[in-house]
Structure formats: structure tokens, C-alpha cells
Subunit: 213 residues, 2 copies
DNA sequence: CGACAATACGGAGAACCTCTCCGTTTTTCC
DNA sequence: GGAAAAACGGAGAGGTTCTCCGTATTGTCG
């Protein structure tokens, strides 16, 4: 066991702290929460491409502090949507445990997933896209990245789809990844649509496509 | 009729020249072509978010010259994809004139549309998104915008879909705009997919969804 | 052919972004 | 209380978008 007060807990001098390994100092924990709160506000107003400098200003910290806690935009976006992704996957677990037709459970969850993807100008989608980039890319600077967002959602979709497949409610050749990509695509393409019913309508089409013929 | 040599043809002092109203001076026409050629290269390398300064450098002109010919990023992107959009709509016209089943013609065109949307890191999609923003937005600085991209594609899709509807090959409640959005969504969500077959697979699902039940 | 009006150029500058570095400050623990 | 460790923050580097206006070039007419 490492001696206390020897390992650095800061970036760039060391790996940034994470939810699993919170900073030791109280002022550091407070600053991290302030950055997250400011990020939620600014991302709600301006979407996932909002200025990180503006978030630092809103949080009342320096840019160096923001970057020590979140080494890049994706890390911050992932931290912001983490709770909502956890809730979304919890929702999937609840649906799996409930006594409902498999196709209804899947449809229910995909509706919630679409809602999540579209919230805060597509924050959920932005987090997943960044995760997929990290997963697909080569060696990552800064060590292991947080892939929770992408993998958790994939696992939820896989579980619900598997049940529906076993029940014969969906076509056998449809993969969880393909289904997720279709829903993500709906979120992306309808982000600026003036028709508020269009996302639901397109999702209904996708659900139709998922049924066996 | 306005007297010659009195109306200004430059921005910001006047409206920028367009394809319909090319600049009078030979050096201006040459610079416009150089900017477009550089834009094609740079957008191919880096996608529609590439640096406009880099395009100006590559073209060997000043940023002021680039902005006089193309007042914003969208105008440049639209000019770059204009020829491909024209070809895509010409393709639709050819399919409409040919003696082929309506559903095959529609599928053929949607495949070409998906290919167009994905080319140059989603340039086609970027142009359409910007067009839709312009159409949906309020008063536009800089006068009338070029909506050719969005409207032309919409008209082509409408014509092909109409024929398929009349032939009973597609569900009656599917609109051209919904269909376009689904395909645009596929292009957006699979932009970074490591699976080269995924876009085609998702399009096949969408075509399935389009069929009447 | 030269002059002049019209057209076009370009790059400095304003204002902002991302991201890093390192001197300084604060916190925690012995 | 002091020292080690942890954290802060903002100047600065390098980049972006976009505008403005003094200067240069082009085209037309006498």
C-alpha cells in the first residue's frame, strides 16, 4: 500500500482525479462540483460545443483548474451525463425485471434513450460519439479513458434486444449497435427540426423496421 | 436598368457575388475558383469544420478575399457541394424517366444520397443542416441565402417517393422530409463507425421500414 | 493610350478559443 | 507549527473567425 502524501493527484503533473478516485483536498472537491454545476448550465444553454473558458468563468475557477479536473471536453461531457446514463441503464434493468412483452420493453427504453440523446442539445449523443472515438482510436494520451457511457448503453440495449429476439419480436439480424446508431442518427438529424413530433415518428418507423417480416 | 459600373459587387461593401452573378473582374473570378479548389482539398482532408484561414492560405489569398466571395462557412460549403447536389438531382430525374419499379428507383437514389451525405466527412449533410437552419431561422444578415441544396434534394425525394406511393410500394404516411432525415441521421451517426458495411445495413432497414405492412 | 471610377485585395487587429506551464498559495498530516 | 503534498490560476502560445480600410488593380471611356 502506497504511503500517504506521496502520489500526485493532479494533472498535468499526474492523472486527473475521477469519480472513482476523488481529490483528497476539500477545496479541490468543491471546485470539481462547481465546474460540473457550471457545465450543466452552460451545456444546457449552448450545447456540448460550448466554450470551456466560459464554463471555467461561470464556475469561478481558472482554466488550469478546469483542465486539471477534466483533461478534455469529452471527460467533462461524460461527467455531466453520467448520472443520466446511470438512470437510463437503471430504467433498462427495471424493464428487464418487469413482466412486460419484450417488444414493448424495448420500445419503451428506446423512447427514453432518444429523449436522453436529445437533451441539452444532444449532450448524450456527444458523449457517446466521443466514447466511440476513444474506443476506436489508437493509444490514448492520458491513459485509460472512461467508456462507461457508450458501453453501459450498449449493454442495456443488448439485454433488451436479446429478450425481444428470444420472444421472436424482432428480426434476428438486427444488432444492438445498429439499433443504437439508428436512434442516435434520429437524435442528430432532428436536433434542429422545427417539427416536435418528428423524432417520435422516425422512432416509430425504426421500431417497425425492427419487427420480423 | 442600372447603369453599368455603378453598383458595387463586393462584400462587405455590397452583396457577395454568386454563381448566378459572377464577379466582373477577371482576377476576382480567378480568386473565387482558387478558393473553391482549395476548399475542396481542405474539406476532403478535414471535413466541413476545417479552418477557413487554412483554406485562404491554401488558395493564396487573404482572409478578406475569402469572406468577400463567401460571407460565411455555409456559403462556401454550399458552393463546394453544389455540383454534386446537381448531379444527385440529375440522377433522380434519370430514375424518374427510366422504366424501373418505383421502389427500386427510390432505393437506388437513397443509396446515392447516403453516399453523397457521407462524402468529405459529411460535407453534404453539413450543407443541408446549414440550409435548414437558414430556412428555419429569422431575418438573415446578408440578404437572401442559397437554399438550393436542401430544396433540390427535397424535391427529388418527393418526386421519387410520390411515384412509389402511387405504385403502392411505400407506406402512405411516410413523408419525403422524414425519409431524408432518417438517411441524414444514418450518415451522421455512422460518420465515425469502424464498420464500413453499417451505413448500407441501416439504409436497408430504413427501406424495410418504408414498405407498407 | 491615359485617366479615372469602380472593383478587388490583403493583412493587421479585435475578440475569442484551447491548452499548458510554473510560480504561488493552500491544505493536510505528522 | 512546519513541511510536504496538492491545488490554484492566469499569462502566454498558438490558433480561430471576421471586419475594416488603405492600397492596388482592372475595365471602360474619351
Amino acid at each position: 500500500m502506497a504511503a500517504p502524501h506521496t502520489a500526485s493527484h493532479t494533472a498535468p503533473h499526474g492523472a486527473p482525479p475521477s469519480a472513482a478516485q476523488p481529490p483528497r483536498r476539500a477545496d479541490a472537491r468543491q471546485n470539481r462540483e462547481r465546474v460540473l454545476a457550471a457545465a450543466r448550465e452552460v451545456f444546457t444553454e449552448s450545447g456540448p460545443e460550448a466554450s470551456l473558458n466560459e464554463i471555467a468563468r461561470r464556475a469561478g475557477v481558472g482554466p488550469g483548474t478546469l483542465y486539471r479536473h477534466f483533461p478534455n471536453r469529452h471527460a467533462l461531457v461524460a461527467a455531466v451525463v453520467k448520472d443520466r446514463v446511470t438512470a437510463l441503464c437503471g430504467h433498462a434493468d427495471g424493464l428487464l425485471a418487469a413482466d412486460r412483452p419484450a417488444d414493448e420493453a424495448l420500445a419503451d427504453w428506446l423512447r427514453a434513450f432518444l429523449e436522453h440523446a436529445r437533451t441539452q442539445h444532444g449532450m448524450g449523443v456527444a458523449a457517446m460519439i466521443a466514447d466511440a472515438d476513444a474506443a476506436g482510436g489508437g493509444a490514448e494520451a492520458g491513459g485509460e479513458l472512461d467508456l462507461n457511457c457508450h458501453l453501459s448503453i450498449h449493454n442495456s440495449a443488448e439485454a433488451l434486444l436479446g429478450r425481444a429476439r428470444e420472444a421472436g419480436s424482432v428480426r434476428r439480424d438486427l444488432s444492438a449497435d445498429d439499433l443504437i446508431q439508428l436512434v442516435v442518427g434520429i437524435a442528430l438529424s432532428t436536433a434542429r427540426s422545427p417539427d416536435p413530433d418528428q423524432p417520435e415518428r422516425l422512432l416509430a418507423l425504426v421500431l417497425d423496421a425492427a419487427r420480423p417480416r
